[in-house]
Symmetry: C2
DNA sequence: GAAGTCAGTGAACGGACGTACACCCAGACT
DNA sequence: AGTCTGGGTGTACGTCCGTTCACTGACTTC
């Protein structure tokens, strides 16, 4: 591997590192990270197997880097939703639209999270679950800022967990569905989120 | 392998077949089915690798058998919920309790579904997703029979999908949580299901 | 411009894998 | 009783794997 004009050495290293991450993301979509071999990744990138060690000491460590990368995509999505300060009534519709766009644009990252959350090497799986938990808390904080409803902290957590679960489930379905069927799934998700919010609002006054 | 007193030949074969399935279920909980080797399974069962072929022609085919087995567990759970004709107001509480019991008793099957739904070999993953879809429809039919609410067929599907998603998500959390923390997850699931149902009931009158 | 650093090379290893094949021998069939 | 059937055995193969080691040569440092 030499790959065109590297300029500085650090720059070239970073370029290869990114190529390794991209290759691993692509290949693991077919087999899962746990069944991915260091040699496959090296072959895909066009380097010799031993060169892999210049960047990561194992597939697991590479996996942890992919967790970081993938959750950066997820947070970018949240930022994209918040951008433009949508009115409360529009938040759900906007969120679902943005979700569809980001899943299409960053398919690999979303697929990685959905997959490795349930099946990766233990350390990777735990990292994904931990990050998802943080993400849930972040969402709960966002919900707390809404001018509608006055939920208790605990109810907010439960609600955020329910929403994240529904979204992850939607993402999994999106990933398994050809382009032309995806809008129907997004419409369904919108309906579900509305149901959840309506239920949560009612909940407070009726059962709490 | 010869294993004590076989009696008839078919009986002995069935016994080995079950041992193979059990071993594969146990081992795949650590690595995922996609990273499971035929030799590992054979070693665990105590037979020579080539004897594996007397029962399955590949790990994938074994996986499909595990899909059947696992969904049989899932349906047994549904039957267990229905048994005793719980009053509408108790259905959620009873369902959640039964869920907890069955996840504990058939941990392997539930873990298999949760895992391979997102990560298995393609044919296995598709089989799991297909079975889950059938299960959703079955649940929708159950919901339609309830004396509360009058949902449209489409809304029933959407609602069933939301419920199944929430339950699967709960199962995944249960599987990652030590015994003493599981009741809290079940309580949370109960709250979430109540929110969903309240929302769905409200939904019909407000938005449909 | 000499010395040093380090991403990438290439050969080699021991081990695990899927699968082919010839074989064995206890239960089933006639 | 004699033959057949088929689950399980044992050996052997070619391939892929992770990891070791000594190396090279372009960029960096002084």
């Amino acid at each position: 591997m030499v790959e065109s004009k590297p300029q500085t050495r650090a720059e070239q290293k970073e370029r290869t590192r990114r190529a390794v991450l991209a290759a691993a993301l692509r290949l693991s979509e077919e087999t899962g990270l746990g069944a991915l071999s260091l040699r496959q990744v090296a072959r895909e990138v066009g380097i010799v197997p031993t060169a892999f060690y210049r960047h990561f000491s194992s597939i697991e460590e590479l996996g942890l880097a992919l967790v970081d990368e993938s959750f950066e995509s997820l947070r970018a999505m949240l930022r994209d939703v918040r951008r433009g300060n949508p009115a409360p009534a529009e938040i759900i519709a906007r969120s679902v639209t943005v979700l569809g766009e980001h899943v299409r644009a960053q398919r690999g990252h979303f697929a990685f999270i959905a997959r490795e959350r349930a099946s990766g090497p233990r350390v990777v799986r735990d990292a994904v679950r931990h990050q998802l938990e943080l993400f849930e808390r972040e969402l709960a904080a966002d919900l707390a800022r809404l001018p509608v409803g006055r939920w208790s902290t605990e109810d907010l957590q439960v609600l955020a967990n329910l929403i994240v679960g529904a979204v992850v489930s939607t993402v999994e379905d999106l990933l398994a569905t050809p382009r032309h069927g995806q809008q129907a799934l997004l419409d369904r998700a919108q309906k579900q989120l509305r149901m959840i919010v309506v239920g949560a609002l009612q909940w407070r006054s009726d059962y709490d």
